[in-house]
Symmetry: C2
Subunit: 455 residues, 2 copies
């Protein structure tokens, strides 16, 4: 152990780890192409006081701190930097309270998203944000990146559900930000500032979440389309219809082909683009909305569309979506892009992505939360092609530039981390970037919270 760490180790006991093998497992998130270093130590605090002790020690010794949850991030935000201590909140995984009368939950940051959702369901309540990582990712990590998911098209993202947080900030102060009431405008919305700040402003040690009544059973409508423009028209028709779908997903032919190659499902035989829509409007209204969704698909030129007649069939239809990522992983490393464009620019953005793929001779499959304009181009880097890395890196930056050009943003729900730093700077410009730096300096004068990330 590094000699300088000994006082901290004495205080924290087994909460501090320096075994190199363990450290290696905590050195990075799931971002492909993002650099990382070996941390000098891992702290797994058992409570907020241990986190506070760690912050005070790091301030005194000028040691950077990188916070992480389950490490399912896709932008390198939780990657260890030189000489840092990684703080992982997996041991703080208690659901402190679910209060049906107030419709709130109070949780520690290490609680896994799906575990919270299950616990809420027992009270007839629902925590909507549903990132694809929900079976593993933690609420603390979700807060750090302001995670989204499928149902945000109707129900919003993590920030929309965080009422308040407890955090260790500044030079080692434990504070409560926000509130536990339904409304409140007392002072700056520091809670919203912390959500999505990717660990650069402090360590979040407790989260108070707004909950909703449990979701009604969903009804599913699927449609195949010949090309992206007609699928884009169908998505636009849904927006114009006044229906708010609880999910509206797009899979392009590169997704369908990859799944077919693996599972031989014959998806790509039906059409080149698949749209999956859901409505959770209760009772008869759900039927009305499902019919409207189907009508939107039909009149936009769907080559085949249908409404699922039962839950099992609906699940099978959505299963294709979940198979895309593992199917592509069989072909190589998958660099998950995450851009968001105005809804009406989705088809144009997809076309530009295809051009980028052709220009750089790489395989890019496109999956999209199309109702939000949030696209995930999945760049496949074959394991045996070392120099495909560089082409992929360039393709990623090209896609980012196209998103900005179309009035979009460089990250819809994954965060800036390390992969989108150039993109963020380009998107917001130097003055707004300076505003970020000013706030960071103001709240983290010792510059120990995840320095070198985001901007």
């Amino acid at each position: 152990m590094n000699e300088a760490l000994k006082p901290l180790a004495q205080t924290l006991g087994t909460s501090l780890v320096t075994d190199p093998d363990i450290l290696r497992a905590y050195a990075h998130d799931e971002a492909v192409l993002a650099p990382f270093e070996q941390p000098i130590a891992l702290v797994r605090p058992k409570n907020a006081d241990e986190a506070l002790t760690t912050v005070k020690f790091c301030v005194a010794n000028n040691i950077p701190l990188v916070a992480r949850g389950a490490g399912t991030g896709l932008s390198g935000g939780a990657n260890a930097t030189k000489g840092c201590i990684v703080v992982c909140f997996e041991a703080m995984n208690k659901i402190i309270k679910i209060d049906p009368d107030e419709r709130i939950a109070i949780v520690q940051p290490g609680v896994v998203n799906d575990d919270l959702r299950d616990a809420c369901a027992e009270h007839g309540l629902w925590y909507p944000p549903d990132p694809a990582s929900a079976p593993w990712s933690t609420i603390g990590g979700n807060v750090g990146t302001n995670a989204g998911g499928l149902c945000c098209v109707k129900y919003g993202v993590t920030r929309d559900y965080v009422l308040g947080i407890e955090a260790i900030v500044g030079k080692g102060e434990k504070v409560k930000l926000g509130r536990r009431t339904a409304k409140g405008v007392a002072g700056y919305d520091l809670t919203a500032l912390f959500v999505g700040s990717e660990g650069t402003l402090g360590l979040v040690t407790e989260i108070t979440l707004r909950l909703r009544p449990i979701q009604s059973a969903e009804k599913t409508v699927v449609g195949y389309f010949d090309d992206l423009p007609s699928a884009g028209r169908a998505a636009a028709a849904v927006t114009a219809s006044g229906v708010s779908p609880s999910a509206l997903e797009l899979l392009d032919r590169y997704c369908l082909k990859a799944v077919d190659k693996w599972k031989n499902m014959g998806l790509a035989d039906e059409g080149n683009v698949l749209l999956l829509a859901r409505t959770d409007a209760p009772g008869e209204q759900g039927d009305i909305e499902a019919d409207i969704l189907l009508d939107c698909f039909e009149k936009s030129g769907s080559v085949w569309c249908a409404r699922s007649s039962n839950e099992t069939e609906a699940e099978a239809l959505f299963a294709a979506r979940r198979l895309v990522f593992p199917a592509l992983k069989l072909l190589g490393s998958v660099l998950t892009e995450d851009i968001c464009v105005p809804r009406t620019k989705v088809a144009e953005m997809c076309a530009r992505i295809n051009e980028v793929a052709a220009a750089y001779d790489i395989y890019i499959a496109c999956i999209a939360h199309v109702g939000d304009g949030n696209l995930h181009p999945l760049i496949v880097i074959p394991h045996d092609e070392e120099e495909a890395m560089d082409r992929s890196r360039e393709a990623l930056e090209q896609i980012v530039d196209h998103a900005i050009e179309l009035g979009g943003t460089v990250t819809g729900e994954h965060g800036v981390g390390l992969l989108k730093m150039r993109g963020l700077a380009k998107e917001v410009g130097p003055v707004v970037l300076d505003m970020h730096r000013s706030i960071k300096n103001a709240l983290d004068p010792a510059n120990i919270f995840n320095p070198g990330k985001v901007f």
Copy 2:
């Protein structure tokens, strides 16, 4: 004219006003008991460039700037301070764009809330935030205070609808914050930070808003109760039922009596507390939800409750609510309090307010967005009782302290302004207050944006 102002007057022409009679009309908002001064000038910018010019001039000459919309605020946030220039955005009142395909609106800050709502309705769209001031208050003012309203119990507050803003910040830079896409996590959420910052971080010159599909026709349920605890139980039963009402309002007997005294409506003969609930679930689901609301009222001991059978009747039922404020104004100046407590503490809070009223020998009527726990105790200060002012001021602070004690916040939707500065400091504590100051210093190094307000 102040000699020092001449260069600015030359540049701005008629956009700058120094006529003392006009200045007087722009010296304060509608807060009772909040101090104000005569401003040295009024600027009514015609465009963002004139706002930019004003900011640069004020930075160079160390002149404080107080931004305002229609001046309907209730906390003194827009009150002129010594030596300040008031910037009123009434001349920047264009709806730049309503885009149904993207479900967004882009507006100048001076657009009146109801005007925007009317314009959206023409496109089958809806901008939900509906403060009581909606016929007069502006979107810029609503952004400054993060205004709420009746329907936020289901649809959220202003911040939930602001995607991005253009603002004049720092020492005179025009920036775009946020985005126009449905989702985005690129950098800190500076937009959320500016919303509700009460003009302390810059001048907002353009706002991009998220819109919703137009609301379905509402169904109304009313219930009279003998006392606050049973009305509180009814509100809790609504929460537990899983129904999300589009409004859930409470009027206590002091409200009912004041309306009766004026309009002789006999409201207080029916019961001591009136609950008004609405649902906007479409079609058959609306009927189901209205029946559930009625059932919640009945089983909680309502002495009389009913569902309105038509729109006109429903309007008449809700009209009583709108009459409360003018009815009280006949009795004296009305100091509108605004606190928010956990939903389950509403009845307890109302009881404590009654105790405060008795202790200070003042008339306090209580109207509440009870579904949110957001209460507006209305403190009546008789015109002929000079010393009732002091008692009212003390009563206000007592109520604020009770709200904090019950786990609530000192302001649910009106903002801190001048009236809640002590309350905010007590609610958040010295460390969080310092975080506010650090951010203010970081983003407003010249300290010209509404200094001396909020904290």
